[in-house]
């Protein structure tokens, strides 16, 4: 009986650990995959790590992360230590109260902290700009900046803020363990309070400070949500960059960086735990191994050396910070917000080298996220790349700035087909970036005949093997276009009819699941026969599964255009023009088309791409693939772009979507 129990408990323990660590293990394994899939193993390689270190975006965000974490840790450690000492010398009741107040931010949801800080900063900036305008108006000796923005400074303040409680929490107990009379004793023997702090309190609470600092550092490196809301447009931490990269799919490159991040945090934790274990053993043993070393530092010469070293380190650190902030301030910048994996990153480097303008490149998750970022005042970008329907909404709300086309000669290269589209009929606000179609992706080994119609999504032929969009607009669009209605219809009967189609199919079990980027794994791994997604992404999937095919249904489909716009009052207007002109060039369009496999709006690029492909890969581009990347005009003709829907219709969408119950 007892034996059986122990087997059961062992199996249980094993399961717990399996669930805890198997995902991480898998992630680490696939970071060494030579292919770009997370499902199919194609051999060991370090390519993704190599690529990682050549990825400018990642390296810059690693740098930002390290800098903000180190600075925040240093500041929070000093502030937290003194705060803990202050708490300690208070009466018990006020101390307990303050400790509780201190604990709340740690328990508080990060998202609340993040949003609150963002709102606070934005409110403060508004107040500040009023003040600065008034102040600059009444005197001319000191000119205050009138416009403050979210950026490295606010990111740092946020990190310091959420780190301080951790330091207080780990220093507090050490102070309470300390003999209350130690400080009195030191002062009795000739110390001022400050000397007593250095000579007596500090050595006593040092273990608490160290573990507090390590915790704070780990938290800083780890943090995503709070950074996301406070970093603004000019800085991006590693976690934010990774998140941006997962927009499309989890590439092995992300596996590689995640592996490194995991190992870093693991190493920090091991260090913390070893220190604690050693501190516990200290009671039994005598001096630690480093005794002679530390004794040397207690001699006058050692002390002088130590002080010198500490001073030099501090000076280096300060110098680095000053240089860094100076360097970033001196150079012109442009803040760009786009979608994840939506640019050939070499273009950024190329642009920076050519113009000397630093590009702060960030990504948003969707048009809707971008919109709310802009509305909250947190997204302080110059250039954004929204989709067609979002552009018309932004124009309507007067959030965009007219472009100075004299600074964008490359606009002439844009194909006339893509000029003056419904979202910007007067060609005042936008320069097209990339376009694509939505279609059906299917596994030819799993279907009976080539798919040409939306009907496969709604009849029972492939029930249980179909993947549907997990967002209302795209899902409804498939049904609307199957029924032959406009994708932008506001007619309630039409919408309800389309919805009924979807709902019935769902109830009959046609859909395996409703997905967004998970579709990559499912289709590549052969777990589903049919899905709906973007043409460019189909080509990415096909690299890992040769059996996949693509079709734009005969009933028509959605096609989209993403275009570059400049926000009203953009702080770097001229730099933004330079960036847009650069991206509109034929070379940039070729590079992007090859990277994204989305259609280019640049006429020359569209024409030259097959040759460009041949030169680059030394093989001919399959004309069928070209037609998938850039749908021929006759296909495009049966497709329709999204327009902004009126409020009532949007509400109806929400209601219906809720009713569907996903």
């Amino acid at each position: 009986m007892k034996r059986r129990n122990s087997i059961v408990s062992r199996v249980f323990t094993a399961l717990v650990f399996l669930f805890l660590y198997a995902p991480i293990f898998l992630l680490i394994v696939f970071s060494f995959n030579s292919g770009n899939s997370n499902v199919v193993w194609s051999g060991f390689s370090l390519d993704w790590y190599r690529e990682l270190f050549h990825n400018r975006l990642i390296m810059r965000s690693v740098y930002t992360t390290l800098l903000v974490s180190l600075l925040a840790t240093a500041i929070a450690t000093v502030a937290g230590t003194f705060a803990a000492i202050g708490f300690y010398s208070l009466r018990r009741r006020s101390r307990n109260l303050l400790n509780t107040v201190n604990n709340i931010p740690m328990m508080n949801a990060d998202i609340v902290t993040g949003v609150a800080m963002c709102l606070f900063f934005v409110a403060f900036f508004t107040f500040w700009s009023d003040f600065a305008v008034w102040f600059n108006g009444i005197q001319h000796l000191l000119v205050l900046p009138e416009r403050l923005t979210l950026g490295f400074g606010t990111l740092l303040i946020a990190h310091v803020t959420f780190n301080i409680p951790y330091v207080i929490l780990s220093v507090g107990p050490k102070l309470r363990q300390m003999d209350k009379n130690l400080v009195d004793a030191a002062m009795d023997l000739g110390c001022t309070w400050m000397q007593a702090f250095w000579k007596v309190i500090l050595p006593e609470i040092k273990p608490g400070i160290t573990s507090g600092a390590l915790t704070a550092f780990t938290m800083s490196v780890d943090d995503f949500i709070i950074s996301y809301f406070t970093a603004g447009s000019s800085s991006s931490t590693l976690a934010m960059t990774i998140y941006g990269m997962t927009k499309k799919r989890v590439t092995p490159e992300i596996n590689a960086i995640s592996t490194l991040l995991f190992i870093t945090v693991l190493a920090l934790l091991v260090v913390v735990n070893l220190r604690e274990a050693r501190a516990e053993r200290r009671g039994e043993e005598h001096r630690p191994v480093s005794s002679r070393f530390s004794q040397f530092f207690d001699t006058p010469r050692g002390r002088r050396l130590r002080r010198g070293a500490a001073g030099a380190l501090a000076a280096c650190f300060l110098a680095a910070v000053v240089l860094l902030t100076g360097a970033t301030n001196a150079q012109p910048v442009v803040n760009v917000c786009s979608w994840g994996e939506y640019i050939d990153e070499d273009l950024i480097t190329q642009f920076e080298e050519e113009t000397g303008i630093i590009v702060n490149y960030q990504t948003a998750e969707s048009n809707e996220t971008l919109y709310s970022l802009l509305k909250s005042g947190a997204g302080d970008y110059d250039v954004i790349v929204p989709s067609d329907y979002m552009i018309s909404q932004l124009i309507e709300e007067d959030m965009l700035s007219e472009l100075d086309f004299s600074q964008i000669p490359n606009y002439a290269l844009i194909s006339d087909r893509f000029k003056g589209l419904t979202y910007d009929p007067e060609e005042r606000y936008s320069v097209p970036y990339a376009w694509g179609t939505v279609g059906i992706i299917y596994n030819e080994t799993m279907v009976n005949e080539p798919v040409t119609s939306w009907s496969v999504l709604f009849d029972d032929q492939y029930a249980g093997n179909v993947l549907m969009f997990r967002n209302s607009r795209d899902a409804m669009a498939t049904a609307l276009s199957y029924l032959g209605y406009s994708l932008n219809t506001t007619d309630e009967t039409e919408l309800r009819e389309a919805f009924q189609l979807l709902k019935d199919a769902k109830n009959r079990g046609v859909y395996q699941s409703f997905v967004m980027d998970e579709i990559f794994q499912k289709l590549e791994g052969g777990n589903a026969a049919i899905g709906v997604y973007y043409a460019g992404d189909y080509l990415t999937m096909r690299e890992n599964n040769e059996d996949l095919c693509f079709a734009v249904p005969e009933e028509g489909s959605n096609w989209f255009m993403d275009a570059m716009c400049v926000l009203k009052d953009a702080p770097h207007y001229d730099e933004a023009m330079a960036w847009i002109n650069f991206i509109a060039s034929t070379e940039a369009n070729l590079a992007n088309m090859d990277y994204l496999w989305y259609g280019s709006p640049n006429q020359e690029a569209l024409e030259q791409y097959p040759a460009y492909y041949q030169e680059l890969y030394d093989e001919e581009l399959d004309p069928a693939d070209y037609d998938i990347i850039a749908a021929p005009p006759e296909v495009l003709e049966r497709c329709e772009a999204y327009l902004v829907l009126p409020f009532e219709t949007r509400q109806l969408y929400n209601e219906l979507w809720t009713e569907l119950g996903i």
Binding site: N181, D188, P300
Partner: protein, 388 residues
């Protein structure tokens, strides 16, 4: 010997509206061993902390050699302290603990401008000298946590004395030691005080410690001084019921001073040596247990019944009921429980005190056995008020 060194004038102190020191006045002579004695919460530690400079009095002055030092921080006072539980620095070894104060010292050089550290050789020789004085030679490289309680105690004393202070404050320094070690250290402390020839101000709640070591004892209760005097004065001539009860064992009986040298208890008159009271003034009469002789009933000035007997080695402690009031008597003769006995008290065994607010609160042994053993129990730490 009797040069005044420290004077406390009208000190008042309160924590959380609770009066801890109530208009305290006290002077302390140079080279004196003075003990502040009293129960937990009587204000003795607060008084010591005020002298040390760790606490600022709410009102009143601290004078040192005639100069007001209220605002002088601890590190500028020629006073050092041995703390409760020693407060040694755990991260330093024995040598560095003792050298701590010397390393902090700065001496002006010839020009009087630059302030120099003490030379390392001087520090070394003074620390070694001190280690020898407290019999800890050879321990200089030990870690603090590798020392016994008694050794830590000595390091604490050495660490304070190495600075050659004018005054050494000791805050219940023997509280954490066991009984045997405590007795040894009492003698050791007294020897050290005589050897270095400086003022010791000693705080304790242990009356025996106070009697053994002090030149002067200050008995305190509720923030006020109850009596100041030599150990003999305090023991033989307590000023009120509180002092009589706190120092040693006392039977305290309601009495009436008929006239000088004649006091009335239980309706009987006893000759005594005290005088200076009004005629028929109500008084408290103190009779020490060892001053009572047991005699046959017919020869006794009073007669009572034995209700309890405890064997204490050198003597018996017996409780005798005199008309409902229980006395403690220490005697070498055994009397069984229930026996009726007579007692006789010599005139010099009777001490008459004026009535005080403490009258009637002490001196009855009705709840015997628990009560008077309790006084030896080590009381909890008397902190600065907020921590328990």
């Amino acid at each position: 010997m009797s040069k005044e060194l420290i004077r406390l004038r009208d000190l008042c102190m309160a924590y959380d509206d609770e009066l801890v020191l109530d208009h305290l006045n006290l002077y302390i002579n140079d080279k004196e061993f003075l003990t502040l004695l009293g129960p937990s919460g009587c204000g003795k530690t607060t008084t010591l902390r005020i002298i040390g400079g760790f606490t600022t009095p709410a009102s009143g002055d601290v004078l040192f050699g005639g100069v007001r030092i209220n605002d002088v921080p601890p590190h500028k006072r020629q006073i050092n302290t041995v703390f409760q539980k020693y407060a040694l620095f755990p991260h330093l070894n024995v040598f560095e603990n003792i050298a701590f104060g010397l390393r902090m010292q700065r001496l002006p050089d010839a020009s009087g401008k630059r302030r120099n550290r003490l030379p390392e050789e001087e520090i070394r020789s003074r620390v070694m000298e001190m280690l020898e004085a407290v019999s800890l030679k050879g321990f200089e490289n030990r870690r603090i946590d590798a020392l016994s309680g008694g050794q830590q105690q000595r390091v604490a004393i050495a660490r304070a004395l190495v600075n050659r202070p004018k005054v050494l404050l000791l805050d219940e320094p023997l509280g954490a030691l066991d009984l045997k070690l405590r007795k040894d250290m009492q003698i050791e402390l007294k020897r050290i005080q005589q050897q270095v020839g400086i003022t010791f101000i000693y705080v304790t709640h242990d009356q025996e410690e106070a009697l053994t070591m002090s030149d002067t004892i200050v008995v305190m209760d509720k923030g006020s001084i109850q009596q100041i005097g030599t150990p003999e004065d305090i023991y033989n001539e307590p000023k009120n019921a509180f002092v009589a009860d706190f120092i040693g064992e006392s039977n305290i009986i309601d009495g009436l001073m008929v006239r000088d040298h004649l006091v009335q208890m239980y309706g009987r008159q006893f000759p005594c040596l005290d005088g200076g009271f009004a005629e028929n003034e109500p008084v408290d009469v103190v009779i020490r247990p060892e001053d009572i002789d047991i005699v046959p009933v017919e020869q006794g000035q009073l007669t009572g019944t034995v209700t309890n007997v405890t064997f204490k080695g050198m003597q018996y402690d017996i409780i005798v009921d005199f008309r409902g009031f229980k006395w403690l008597i220490q005697t070498t003769d055994h009397s069984p429980v229930g026996a009726r006995i007579g007692i006789k008290i010599d005139p010099d065994g009777i001490h008459v005190m004026k009535k005080s607010p403490y009258s009637g609160m002490f001196g009855d042994y009705s709840s015997f056995s628990d009560e008077y053993d309790e006084l030896d129990v080590v009381e909890p730490e008397e902190g600065s008020g907020d921590e328990s």
